[in-house]
């Protein structure tokens, strides 16, 4: 498509996909939910925000969550988590489409931006809630729950 890298409207219902590496460095065990959730190192915000991919844009182009899971040349597909734009915005994060031509699926790239002016504790709270809102939608986590957790 000629306009692949033109920003398009993102709606509150849109799902944002994020690849999370299948290692205990990037996942935390949630004992109450009895499942793994992305850890601090997987929900990180550089100056350009947290990198995600809009599922609808991927689907429209014939791609899928599987393409997010194999980004970066992963030999084995990494787990892919999903969170809606609405869930992110309710926590005061901003979401914008930020096409990135450095990857084959960069046309669907979107950034989740850290709320400005938040105190560290408030940001930790928002980030933690965002991570816990994320659901595994593709791939498999092969880690065993920590013994005694």
């Amino acid at each position: 498509m000629d306009d692949d890298n033109e920003p398009r409207d993102i709606t509150s219902d849109d799902a944002l996909l994020r690849r999370v590496i299948n290692r205990a460095d990037f996942l935390e065990w949630h004992a109450d939910l009895e499942r793994w959730v992305p850890a601090t190192g997987a929900v990180r915000f550089d100056p350009d925000g947290m990198s995600t991919y809009v599922e609808r844009f991927l689907r429209e182009a014939g791609d899928s969550a599987a393409d997010v899971g194999t980004m970066g040349g992963s030999k084995d597909p990494e787990p892919v988590f999903s969170v809606t734009v609405e869930q992110a915005c309710l926590l005061d994060f901003a979401v914008s489409q930020t096409p990135d031509d450095r990857t084959p699926i960069g046309y669907a790239h979107a950034s989740v931006e850290r709320p400005s002016g938040q105190f560290t504790g408030d940001f930790k709270s928002a980030r933690s809630q965002l991570a816990q809102s994320m659901r595994l939608v593709h791939g498999r986590i092969t880690l065993a729950a920590p013994d005694g957790a």
């Binding site: 590496i21 205990a24 460095d25 990037f26 996942l27 935390e28 065990w29 949630h30 004992a31 109450d32 939910l33 959730v37 850890a39 601090t40 190192g41 990180r44 550089d46 970066g72 560290t120 504790g121 930790k124 709270s125 933690s128 816990q132 920590p146 013994d147 005694g148 957790a149």
Partner: protein, 158 residues
Amino acid sequence: MTLINAGSTAFEFDVVEPEAEVFSRTSRPPVKVTVPRAATAPRWLSYVIERLNELALLVDDPDEDLPAPSQAVLNRALEEANRLLPPSTPTPSVVPTTEGHVQFVWHKTGWDVEVEIGMEETWVWAQDRESGESWSGSLDERKGELVSLLHRMATDLH
């Protein structure tokens, strides 16, 4: 016999010889800790040591923007665990942070708790998910609340 203080409690470990090398990164001098007898070992000890060993082998990955914690931070993390966590404390997740720190994390009993260990300081953040109540600060400031919360989590195990 080794005494390790955990908050206001002191508990005893029987030392099993030989001592185990905890961190095996080649470029770092090994740190030795005593291994407690299995019957009295804190339930979190085995996993925490396993994870600290893994973090000792972590290599800086610019693509993932996750620096490897330094030897000093890993040492402090083990010391803080021994100092703070009673034997019945649920096992935490042990993750590196983007600042090169080590974080112990629990999501349990309706609370999210993070204890972040840096080179010289330790910070605590906790949040009650239902009420939204949260508190944070240096470990020195928040130690009493943390110990109380860990005790509550431990009690919930039974």
